[in-house]
């Protein structure tokens, strides 16, 4: 009996720290941070399209974030009564820029083109991303791309599964 207990103890002594180490090395999820408080829900409720702000989504690889100048296209005039709005206007007047937080980052050796998926494959934003009409801020990361997922979809849609299609 004591023998068995001792063996369990040994296993615990070895395995628990190992597990802890393993857990500590696993990737931790970064908290969502957008760099500037803004509500996707409210913007989309005003019949805005995603591409109004993410202007690169149809023509380039990165969907891109708006510059403050883009924001000022509408926000030059007060839009509603959000107390944060004047401060944004002040920043724009100073020539400041918002450093938007990127929620999704692909591995550095992976190429992903929004243009190819949105314009050529006619995919919708919601096919991969969260539905932003319901929430103010997305949770990070809102998609977790893995190669199997990409390849499965490419196979299904008869898109290229050549390595060079996505690797750079």
């Amino acid at each position: 009996m004591s023998h068995a207990r001792r063996s369990i103890g040994t296993v615990l002594v070895i395995a628990v720290p190992a597990l802890l180490i393993a857990l500590g090395m696993a990737r931790h999820t970064p908290a969502a941070s957008m760099g500037q408080a803004m509500s996707h829900k409210r913007h989309l409720a005003k019949e805005m399209k995603c591409r109004a702000c993410h202007q690169g989504v149809e023509g380039q690889a990165l969907a891109s974030f708006p510059t403050l100048a883009d924001c000022m296209d509408c926000h030059k005039m007060p839009q509603g009564n959000d107390p944060a709005e004047p401060s944004v206007r002040a920043r724009a007047a100073r020539g400041d820029e918002i450093s938007w937080g990127r929620l999704n980052r692909l591995a550095g050796h992976v190429y992903f083109s929004h243009a190819a998926h949105v314009t050529l494959a006619s995919m919708k934003c919601e096919d991969c991303h969260q539905d932003m009409t319901a929430i103010d801020q997305p949770t990070a990361p809102d998609i977790r791309p893995d190669m199997d997922g990409c390849v499965a979809c490419h196979r299904e849609k008869h898109a290229s599964v050549d390595c060079l299609a996505c690797h750079k």
Binding site: T10, A22, L62, A63, T67, L68, G108
Partner: protein, 748 residues
């Protein structure tokens, strides 16, 4: 049945232990495997913490047109800028100089732009000269300091004691500095001499009697006789020659002591300094065999030389010369083109005249080429020059160019150290150096260092802390060409000639300022007539207002374009005072001779005493420095394809170019197998090359691409310039780069 012994029982217990260990080690192995996962994505391009460039969206990219500045050719470039950072330079396909091509230098320019050793703000020397102790100061402070000094110097009545060494020509900025010196009252705007553009500049004025650069119709040329080591690979003409002759490649015969790096139809090895003699011999054959129309060439000195007589100077057999002359006559239109290395000899002017005569005799230069006149600004008012400036501008130049010592010279930078050291004709009180590093790129390093020590006030505008800047009192780092506005006259002149726009492709990476802004700030600081001579606020305004708006719009769209003058009055001061030789009598060589005789230099006033009675200087044989017995070989310094005159260290890729073979970094001494056998040197040996003034270590490269009796060494790496004896052509004032004798031995 007897049971086996009980040895299995404890064994079972033991195996239990084994299992426990197994479990534990498996867990450990799992943890270790997890630990092996790369913690950081090694493929991520983490841009350094450069502040976000305002106005750029993520992933946004633009292409910005500009003009390269790494040689005098002024190729059009197209820069890919992503999120405000330049990531790739390509040739501008719309640009008439390079038509989309771009050589290694232009491609590597981003390395210089983002180089970690760039000077990031003005520096003031705190320790003794050369001690390397610097203090960072603000731009206002730096400019204030320079203006105070210059104002003091002018107030003391000696504005001519200000000297500007300017490594740049053919740009609006250069003209701004010239205007600044004009208003300030100093004649001493000194160029950098013959490795760069000055030698090319000499080409046309002395041959055609005009100041400006030639435009050759390369698409029609049937035979190109290319003279010199660099013409086809690295000269200011190279890119244009190569790009413009794409469609119908002419037959190319190259004459030089070193085989050019590119494919030519024939290579004729020639002794250094022998180009003029070859041209005269060709003229002789052309006249003797009545292959050409000979009117007007009676006055050509030395024209009676037969190929046999010149063999000793050129090292080319007479029958080769005969064959070449007939080839020139048969493959018309034929063109003789040459580079800076051809005239960088003690008989430079003679050579230029002889080559020009050959071209004139062939009668093709005039049909193939049009020569530009001097370029002035359309929108620039005549400069205000006060009495002091007008008076002091007239004193002889400190480098002696244009005086009896150097009648046809425009600039004689190699005479500067001696002039400063002897304080004759007058002492130099302030020295400004921009776009140049004379200490490292000109021979006589020791003399230069001593001279710089004697000048009380030295300002360097170098973007690097180079050898010259190291000895300066102030370093005011100029922006690099990718961060600056300018307008450039390409040295490789196209037909029709164009202006090439330079605009910032990125904002200043560090706190540097454009050279034009600096000179404007200096002028504004000095005020008075100087301030009103340069009335603009910014360099950008100068660029945008100096040319007619419709021309400017076209230039901005394509990166280069022709400036059109609206009326005669503007044209007088404007661009495009084009003298078309077709409208003169093309075959009348006297036209050229008269020009030389009457107007040897730019203003035609100071050279009258020097002009020889016959109208032309007599033919000269080349002269070499060093005892032929002691120094049996000729040094041929050449510009390799990736040659950058200044700041070569900032382009590691150019140094790593695998053009020769193997390890690309060390300096190579290229010699003929015959000489290698004579001096007991094998390929790859460490050798010592010595001249009468210096020595340098190199690695031997034994190659039959070098003429016997010659050591060819690439310029741009330190060491070669130390070998060169600073002799010069006494008429043109050009440094005789090709006039040094050396010896070579294995390093022990």
């Amino acid at each position: 049945m007897k049971r086996p012994p009980r040895s299995t029982e404890p064994a079972a217990a033991a195996s239990h232990l084994g299992r426990r260990e197994l479990l534990g080690s498996a867990a450990l192995a799992g943890a270790a495997l997890l630990g092996c996962r790369p913690k950081k994505d090694p493929y991520r391009i983490d841009k350094p913490p450069v502040p976000r460039v305002p106005g750029w969206r993520t992933g946004e990219e633009r292409w910005v047109l500009s003009t390269c500045a790494l040689c005098e050719a002024a190729c059009g470039i197209k820069v890919r800028v992503v999120e405000g950072r330049a990531v790739k330079i390509e040739g501008n396909p719309e640009h008439p100089v390079n038509r989309g091509g771009l050589c290694s230098r232009g491609q590597a320019a981003l390395q210089a732009l983002y180089h970690p050793e760039r000077v990031r703000s003005p520096l003031r020397r705190t320790g003794s000269r050369g001690s390397g102790q610097w203090k960072t100061i603000s731009w206002d402070e730096a400019i204030g300091e320079v203006t105070a000094k210059l104002a003091k110097l002018r107030a003391a009545g000696g504005p001519e004691r200000l000297v500007l060494i300017d490594g740049e020509t053919g740009t609006l900025t250069h003209n701004l500095w010239a205007r600044f010196l004009l208003a300030y009252g100093s004649p001493n705007h000194v160029g950098m001499g013959s490795t760069g553009s000055a030698a090319v500049e000499l080409d046309t004025p002395y041959r055609q009697g005009l100041y400006g650069w030639r435009a050759d119709d390369l698409e029609r040329t049937g035979l190109l006789l290319a003279m010199g080591t660099d013409l086809l690979a690295s000269s200011g003409q190279a890119m244009h020659l190569q790009c413009a002759s794409r469609a119908r490649r002419p037959r190319v015969i190259c004459v030089s002591p070193r085989r050019p790096g590119c494919r030519v139809d024939e290579w004729i090895p020639i002794a250094p300094g022998g180009y003029g003699a070859l041209a005269l011999a060709l003229v002789h054959v052309l006249l003797r065999d009545a292959l050409v129309d000979s009117r007007g060439f009676e006055a050509l000195p030395g024209a009676g030389r037969t190929p046999e007589e010149t063999t000793q100077v050129t090292g080319i057999p007479a029958e080769t010369v005969e064959r070449l002359a007939h080839a020139l006559a048969e493959n018309r239109p034929a063109l003789v083109a040459s580079d800076g290395s051809v005239v960088a000899a003690s008989n430079g002017l003679s050579t230029a005249i002889a080559i020009s005569a050959l071209n004139g005799l062939l009668g093709e230069r005039e049909r193939l080429a049009r020569v530009l006149g001097t370029v002035r600004m359309a929108g620039w008012p005549a400069p205000t020059v006060d009495a002091l400036a007008a008076a002091r501008r007239a004193v002889p130049r400190v480098d002696g160019a244009g005086t009896a010592a150097c009648p046809f010279g425009q600039s004689r930078v190699q005479a500067l150290p001696a002039a400063i050291a002897s304080a004759k004709p007058y002492p130099v009180e302030a020295l400004l150096v921009r776009g140049a590093n004379p200490l490292a790129t000109l021979p006589g390093r020791q003399a230069w260092a001593a001279a710089l020590q004697r000048v009380p006030f030295v300002v360097s505008f170098s973007p690097w802390l180079d050898e010259t800047a190291w000895l300066a009192d102030l370093v005011l780092p100029e922006s690099l060409f990718l961060e600056a506005w300018d307008m450039v006259w390409p040295a490789a002149v196209t037909d029709p000639p164009v202006l090439s726009l330079r605009q910032p492709v990125v904002g200043p990476v560090h706190g540097t300022r454009q050279s034009g802004d600096l000179v404007l700030a200096l002028a504004a600081g000095l005020g008075g007539s100087i301030g009103s001579a340069l009335p603009w606020k910014r360099q950008q305004d100068v660029v945008e207002t100096s040319f007619p708006p419709q021309s400017m719009a076209a230039i901005k769209e394509k990166g280069a374009g022709r400036s059109v003058c609206a009326d005669d009055e503007n044209c007088k001061h404007g661009l495009g005072e084009i003298v078309d030789l077709e409208s003169t009598t093309p075959h009348e060589f006297a036209f050229f001779a008269r020009r030389i005789a009457s107007a040897g230099t730019r203003d035609g006033t100071r050279s009258s005493e020097a002009a020889a009675g016959s109208g032309l200087p007599p033919w000269e044989a080349p002269r070499f420095s060093g005892d032929p017995l002691q120094f049996p070989l000729h040094l041929v310094p050449y510009r390799p394809a990736p040659f950058v005159a200044d700041g070569a260290h900032a382009f590691p890729w150019l140094s790593e170019l695998p053009l020769v073979s193997g390890n690309p970094w060390p300096l190579r001494a290229e010699i003929n197998p015959a000489d290698a056998a004579r001096f007991g040197v094998a390929d790859g040996d460490e050798v010592l090359v010595e001249s009468s003034v210096g020595s340098c270590a190199a690695v031997a490269l034994v190659s039959d691409g070098v003429r016997p009796g010659v050591v060819a060494m690439a310029l741009g790496k330190s060491g070669v310039v130390d070998l060169v004896v600073p002799d010069e052509d006494r008429l043109s004032g050009l440094l005789a780069w090709q006039g040094t004798r050396v010896r070579l031995r294995r390093a022990s």
